[in-house]
C-alpha cells in the first residue's frame, strides 16, 4: 500500500523530520487560500500514486497568484498516467543549494533492510542505481538490533554528504529507519532532502509504502488505504480479498495461485492476445467468490473475452465446477464469452458437470488460452 506524499509527510513531521510548511487542497479556491497563507514561491504537487509526477506536469512552482491559479487549474482534474488528480499539496518552496537521497528498503537477496544515501538526490534514484551505482552508499541493517546510530553516520559519510549537514542527514535517516520498522514500511525514502543556503536540511518529498501483509497491526495506516485507492476495480478487489492487477489488454483472466495466473497471462501474450488483468481468486472456488471474480472482469470495459483457469489441488474439480455453474447461472446474461479449464483433482468429473450453455470448456491450459484469445479477437471485429 502506497501512502500519498501528504500522508507520509504528516508522519515524518510527527517523528521530527523537518518538512516544508504545506496544505492539502482539492479545489482551485482551496489552493489559492493555501498559497495565500504559505506565500511564494509555492509548489503545487499532484497527489497521485504515479512515479515521475514532475516530468508529467504534475508539479508546478508558482511565484505569483496568477501562476498559482494557473497551476491549480492545470493540475487538478488532470489525467496523470491514467489517474485523475483530485488533490494537490500546496507547499512552501525551498531555496536549496543541494539535493540528496535518503531511503530504507528491504534487500531481499540479503534478507535484511538496507539504508541508502546519495548526493544525487532529486532525480530518479533507480536510474542513478543503474548508471552510477557507486553514487549510492549502502548499509545493511541487522533487523534484530535495528539501525545503530553509527550506521546512519557511516553511510552518510560514505556517500559524501557535505560535512556541515552529515550529522543532520544521519539523524533523518535513523528516524526514517525507526518509522520503517514501527510502521511496517516496505520502502521509505526522502528524495530529495534539500540543503538550504543556511545548511538546514528539509524533506522536500516523501515516499512511504507499507507492507500489505502488516496492515493488520497498523490500524491507523490501514484506514488511509481507502483514500489511497484510485482505481475503482482495484478498490473492489481489495474488498473481495482478491489479488488483482489491472492491465491494458482485452483478455480477462481468472485463476487460482499467483504463479499459475501469471503463467496464464504469459500464455495469452504468447498466443498473440493481450491480458486485461491479473486476478487470483486464491484457494477453493466457492460460488460467491467466482461470482465476484466474474463481476470484476465483466465490469472492466476493456475485456472482450475471459479465460477461467483453475487447478484443483486439495479442492476437488467437481466442486469447483459446481461453483462456476452456480455463479454463472445467477447472471441474466453472460456478457462476454468465458472459456473454462479445470485441472487436477477430479478434473474430468468437473469438466463433465460444467454447464456448456454458459461456458466453453477446454482440456489443457494451452487450448483454453488460445480459445480465449480467439474469442477476444472475434469480439473485437
Amino acid at each position: 500500500m502506497k501512502l500519498h506524499e501528504y500522508q507520509a509527510k504528516d508522519i515524518f513531521a510527527d517523528a521530527g523530520i523537518p518538512v516544508p510548511e504545506s496544505r492539502l487542497a482539492s479545489s482551485v479556491d482551496e489552493v489559492m487560500d493555501a498559497v495565500e497563507d504559505i506565500g511564494y514561491p509555492a509548489a503545487i504537487k499532484a497527489q497521485v500514486h504515479v512515479g515521475g509526477r514532475g516530468k508529467a506536469g504534475g508539479i508546478k512552482i508558482a511565484t505569483s497568484e496568477e501562476e498559482a491559479r494557473e497551476a491549480a487549474d492545470s493540475i487538478l482534474g488532470m489525467d496523470l498516467k491514467g489517474y485523475t488528480v483530485e488533490q494537490v499539496l500546496v507547499e512552501a518552496g525551498v531555496d536549496f543549494k543541494n539535493e540528496l537521497y535518503v531511503g530504507v528498503t528491504m534487500d531481499r537477496g540479503e534478507g535484511k533492510p538496507v539504508a541508502m544515501v546519495s548526493t544525487e538526490g532529486g532525480v530518479d534514484i533507480e536510474s542513478v542505481a543503474e548508471e552510477t551505482p557507486d553514487a549510492i552508499a549502502r548499509e545493511h541493517i541487522d533487523p534484530a538490533f535495528g539501525m545503530h546510530p553509527y550506521q546512519a553516520r557511516k553511510v552518510c559519510y560514505e556517500a559524501g554528504i557535505p560535512k556541515e549537514v552529515a550529522l543532520d542527514v544521519a539523524s533523518i535517516l535513523t528516524t526514517l529507519y525507526d518509522l520503517y520498522e514501527s510502521k511496517d514500511a516496505s520502502e521509505i525514502e526522502v528524495n530529495p532532502v534539500m540543503i538550504t543556503e543556511d545548511d538546514e536540511v528539509v524533506a522536500a518529498d516523501a515516499v512511504m509504502n507499507i507492507d500489505d501483509d502488516a496492515l493488520f497491526r497498523q490500524p491507523e495506516l490501514a484506514e488511509m488505504e481507502e483514500e489511497a485507492y484510485e482505481d475503482e476495480l482495484e478498490k473492489k478487489a481489495g474488498e473481495y480479498g482478491f489479488d488483482y492487477v489491472r492491465l491494458s489488454g482485452n483478455v480477462g483472466i481468472i485463476g487460482n495461485g499467483a504463479g499459475l495466473v501469471m503463467t496464464t497471462l504469459d500464455l495469452v501474450d504468447y498466443y498473440g492476445g493481450k491480458p486485461a488483468n491479473f486476478l487470483d481468486i486464491g484457494g477453493g472456488a466457492k460460488a460467491e467468490r467466482v461470482t465476484h471474480a466474474l463481476d470484476m472482469v465483466f465490469s472492466d470495459e476493456n475485456v472482450d473475452a475471459v479465460v477461467f483457469n483453475i487447478f484443483g489441488g486439495i479442492t476437488r474439480g467437481d466442486e469447483v465446477a459446481k461453483g462456476i455453474n452456480e455463479a454463472l447461472e445467477a447472471f441474466d446474461e453472460i456478457p462476454k464469452k468465458v472459456v473454462v479449464r479445470l485441472a487436477g483433482t477430479n478434473a474430468e468429473e468437473g469438466m463433465e458437470i460444467l454447464n456448456t450453455d454458459l461456458v466453453e470448456v477446454e482440456k489443457t491450459l494451452e487450448d483454453a488460452v488460445q480459445r480465449a484469445v480467439q474469442n477476444a479477437e472475434e469480439a473485437n471485429q
Binding site: 489479488d243 492491465l247 499467483a258 504463479g259 501469471m262 491479473f278 489441488g313 491450459l365
Partner: protein, 289 residues
C-alpha cells in the same frame, strides 16, 4: 530416494486445531506422513485425528521425538511459531502460512542464521516425496514416484507442471515449493544442491517467477556445480513493473531488476532450456531422460 523428507520423518503440526491445520494434518496422514504430534498454545492434552496436541513445540518435540514441523498458524502469529520451532533445533521446519509481514521474516532470517535448522517457506505449498510423505498442502494424488526433482516458487504452477509430467508417465523424487515471499528459508540454490547430491534424481524442473534475483543465482549455481540436467520455467513475462503479482515476492522493480527476461537469459546462459509453456518444460525433461 528423496531429499529432506521421507516416511521416517516425524512431523509436528503447529496449529493443528485450526481449520487449515486440522484439514491438512488429516490429508498428510492419509498420504502416509508420520504426523506424531500437534502443537497449539492452550490446547495441550487434546487429540486431533488421534494425534496428541501439546501446548508448546518443545513438549511436542521432546515427547514424540519429532524432527520436523509444519506451520499452519495465522500470519499474525506465524513468525512466533517459526521462532518457537527454531528454538527446538528441529532439523526441518515448513512454514505454509501466507501473509507474514516481511519484517517479521527478516528477523526470522537472522535467527535462522544462528541455528542449524532448515526452513522451507513461508507462503509455500510445502514438500512431497511421492509415495512416502508430504509436509504441506500439495495434493498428493497428482504426484507420482519417479526420478525428476522439482523446485518452484509457486503452488498451482507446480501442480500444473507436475500434471504435465505425470501424464507422460514421468514421476518425481521430491517436489519442493520454496514459496512466493521476498524472504524465504530454502532457496533455489539450496534445493538444487540437494537434488544434485541425490542419486535418484536424474533431472530437475525449476519453476521461477519474476522478482528478486534467486533465479539468477540458481543459474550461476547450475553452471558451476550441477551435472544433473535442469529445465526451467519463468512465470510473469508480461508483468508490468512495480506491481505485486499475487505473491509478495513477485514484483519487477522499477529499475528493471527481477524481470523474466533477465532470469530466462541467465538460465539459458547456464545451459538451462526454459519452456515458453508448461508443456514445453515437460518436453525438455522428457528429452533428458
Amino acid at each position: 530416494m528423496s531429499i529432506l523428507v521421507d516416511d521416517d520423518t516425524r512431523v509436528v503440526v503447529q496449529g493443528i486445531t485450526g481449520g487449515e491445520g486440522k484439514f491438512h494434518a488429516d490429508q498428510m496422514m492419509e498420504y502416509g506422513t508420520n504426523v506424531v504430534a500437534g502443537a497449539v498454545p492452550g490446547k495441550g492434552g487434546q487429540k486431533v485425528h488421534g494425534v496428541p496436541v501439546y501446548d508448546t513445540v518443545h513438549e511436542a518435540v521432546e515427547e514424540e521425538n519429532a524432527d520436523a514441523s509444519v506451520v499452519f498458524v495465522p500470519p499474525a502469529f506465524a513468525a512466533d511459531a517459526v521462532f518457537e520451532a527454531l528454538d527446538t533445533n528441529l532439523e526441518f521446519v515448513v512454514a505454509i502460512t501466507e501473509g507474514i509481514p516481511t519484517q517479521d521474516m527478516a528477523k526470522v532470517n537472522k535467527r535462522l542464521s544462528e541455528t542449524d535448522t532448515r526452513l522451507l517457506g513461508p507462503n509455500c505449498p510445502g514438500i512431497i516425496t511421492p509415495g512416502e510423505a508430504k509436509l504441506g498442502i500439495l495434493p498428493g494424488n497428482i504426484f507420482s514416484d519417479g526420478n525428476v526433482g522439482l523446485v518452484s516458487r509457486s503452488g498451482t504452477l507446480t501442480y500444473q507442471v507436475v500434471d504435465n509430467l505425470t501424464q507422460r508417465g514421468i514421476g518425481q523424487t521430491t517436489a519442493i515449493g520454496i514459496g512466493g515471499d521476498p524472504i524465504i528459508g530454502t532457496s533455489f540454490v539450496d534445493a538444487l544442491e540437494l537434488f544434485e547430491a541425490d542419486e535418484e534424481t536424474d533431472a530437475v524442473v525449476m519453476c521461477g517467477e519474476i522478482g528478486g534475483e534467486d533465479e539468477e543465482e540458481a543459474a550461476k549455481f547450475i553452471a558451476e556445480n550441477m551435472d544433473t540436467p535442469v529445465a526451467g520455467f519463468i512465470a510473469g513475462r508480461t508483468a508490468p513493473p512495480g506491481k505485486r503479482m499475487g505473491h509478495a515476492g513477485a514484483i519487477v522493480s522499477g529499475s528493471g531488476t527481477g524481470t523474466a527476461e533477465s532470469k530466462i537469459s541467465a538460465l539459458n546462459d547456464a545451459g538451462v532450456p526454459v519452456g515458453d509453456t508448461p508443456e514445453e518444460v515437460a518436453d525438455h525433461i522428457e528429452s533428458f531422460l
